[in-house]
């Protein structure tokens, strides 16, 4: 079989998928849906991921939280075809993820990994952004254009010719995002992409992703330990021992309180504070996630008296 075969298959499947969805375009169709997916690593008896199902809507910010080894990274890897589920199906953009669609999926879904250094391939920033474009056979003239556009979107223009060792961790992660943007993706997966960064680098990266999510409606799937970060998502999925334990809007999830702490998650300071205050009989409204929001609530409460 010639290597171009998958592309032809893909084009063909693309047609069918488009035709199939044409009739129901008005209904918001999930950009991603996983149905009953299970996975076991080779030579392991326990499932790393067991019977997991969820969907993501277009333009949504979805957070996945869970303790170490709860299977978050394994799910992320399955989504871009780096691992193959033992059972269940993964659908992206309405198409089943399999050998014929995997390359197109990797173009449309970008992944930022945890360690900023171990995903930087190029000798310089521009070379690194070009890497995925080269892989996808984009003509050189268009590459230059796309690199310029991508670097502008992550505000890294002055660093175009820098080598990786002259960049901070946060800057490297933004280059990784630019590398994804150059492919004009529909979805970005962050697998603890901010966990090795200092607070400033973390804020820079999150700010960049937030902007892309708002302005370009790029779907974001953010895997994190940091519930403070997850609190800003549209929806949170809580993983425990390879299974989905809870799913819902942040205010809904944080109401689980001590249940989350029991599976090894650390509630944000403001949430803990809020529930303590309520226990003391202070009439706070339910659900405060950021420290600023809590302060806002407290002073308005005080001035109402």
């Amino acid at each position: 079989m010639n290597w171009t075969m998958p592309f032809f298959c893909l084009l063909f499947i693309g047609r069918i998928c488009n035709a199939a969805t044409q009739g129901e375009t008005i209904m918001a169709e999930p950009i991603l849906s996983i149905e009953g997916v299970s996975f076991r690593y080779p030579n392991q008896s326990d499932y790393a991921v067991q019977n997991v199902s969820f969907i993501a809507e277009r333009g949504e910010w979805l957070a996945i939280v869970g303790h170490n080894g709860s299977g978050k990274s394994t799910i992320a890897r399955m989504l871009i075809g780096l691992l193959r589920p033992e059972r269940g199906a993964i659908r992206l953009f309405g198409c089943l993820l399999d050998d014929t669609t995997v390359w197109e999926v990797r173009r449309r879904v970008g992944m930022v990994f945890q360690n900023p250094d171990n995903q930087f391939v190029g000798a310089t920033v521009e070379d690194d952004i070009a890497f995925a474009l080269e892989n996808n056979g984009i003509p050189r003239a268009e590459m230059v254009e796309r690199i310029r556009e991508a670097i502008r979107q992550v505000h890294m223009e002055p660093f175009l010719h820098h080598e990786p060792h002259r960049l901070s961790g946060g800057q490297k992660q933004r280059v990784a995002i630019a590398g994804i943007l150059a492919l004009r993706p529909d979805m970005i997966i962050l697998d603890e992409a901010t966990s090795m960064l200092d607070p400033r680098g973390r804020e820079e990266v999150l700010e960049t992703v937030r902007r892309l999510n708002c302005q370009q409606r790029i779907t974001v799937l953010s895997i994190t330990h940091d519930l403070e970060e997850a609190a800003k998502a549209d929806r949170i999925i809580v993983m425990n021992k390879g299974e989905v334990m809870a799913e819902g809007a942040p205010e809904h999830i944080f109401r689980l309180g001590s249940k989350l702490e029991r599976i090894g998650l650390d509630l944000p300071f403001a949430v803990k504070m809020g529930s303590r205050l309520r226990e003391q009989g202070i009439p706070l409204r339910a659900g405060y996630f950021t420290t600023e929001e809590l302060v806002e609530e407290l002073w308005t409460l005080y001035s109402k008296k």
Partner: protein
């Protein structure tokens, strides 16, 4: 330590030599290295030296940088010179120290061979001083391109080289970090007996290897996630452009070869 360890002591610049296509530079140095061995009399050595000196001058690299590149082989040159001085027994005796005698042929031979060494190293140093390692990689990949037909994995080799180059500073940082961490645990890297030093080095190498394997694994995953699937159907961002100057320099080295061939005795 770090500046010393980086392969290729590239000196940034915008001279004619810097701007030559890396393929042209590689070819020039390659041809030069071959024809150096033709030279065997004063006119031929003079021509070769002239070419190398002009080449070095055109690069506008300060002499001190070039000298630093030549320093490590100074001893080799000196040794060769002495060896030939005392071992070659041709022509008239010039000087006698006890049982050793220096012949005219010995002086000539010694000087020629030392000069040959010097020119070889000078030209290869000029290549690394004026070309970034990544340019060298691009040049090698392009020049070896035809070998792809013979199933030589040229693209893979070039990518391997490029990634190794990119990770040198990262691994050096890591080495430093591990050394500090081990020093904090009481490992002494600077002194002690030979066996103790060996133990210290093992305590550095083991973690370094483990982390390198982990890095390699993660990097491979990241590359695959970004759609890498080998050289086929891939376009290239870095492009080499062959200019008139490249042809001119190549013609010059060809002319040098012809002259050398005619003038050698």
């Amino acid at each position: 330590m770090s500046s010393h360890l980086i392969i290729g002591q590239y000196v940034p610049g915008h001279s004619v030599i810097h701007r030559l296509d890396p393929r042209a530079k590689l070819l020039i140095v390659f041809v030069y290295v071959l024809i150096v061995f033709w030279a065997n009399n004063i006119p031929t050595y003079a021509l070769l030296s002239l070419f190398a000196v002009v080449f070095a001058a055109l690069s506008r690299i300060p002499f001190s940088f070039i000298a630093r590149g030549l320093k490590p082989i100074l001893w080799v040159i000196l040794f060769t010179l002495l060896l030939h001085l005392f071992m070659t027994k041709e022509g008239d005796v010039i000087y006698r120290i006890g049982a050793l005698s220096v012949y005219e042929g010995g002086i000539k031979q010694g000087l020629f061979i030392s000069l040959r060494f010097l020119l070889l190293v000078l030209m290869t140093t000029m290549l690394t001083l004026t070309t970034t390692p990544i340019e060298v990689t691009d040049g090698v990949e392009s020049l070896l391109g035809p070998l792809k037909k013979m199933r030589v994995p040229v693209h893979e080799l070039a990518l391997m080289m490029a990634i190794s180059l990119r990770f040198i500073p990262t691994l050096m940082e890591e080495t430093e970090k591990i050394m500090k961490a081990q020093a904090a645990r009481g490992v002494d890297f600077s002194g002690g007996r030979f066996s103790e030093r060996m133990k210290a080095i093992v305590s550095l190498l083991v973690p370094l290897f483990i982390s390198s394997f982990k890095r390699a694994d993660e990097l491979a995953t990241a590359m695959e996630a970004r759609g890498y699937r080998g050289g086929e159907g891939r376009t290239k961002f870095r492009q080499l452009s062959w200019k008139a100057a490249d042809t001119a320099f190549l013609a010059a080295v060809a002319l040098l070869a012809v002259l050398l061939f005619l003038l050698r005795s």
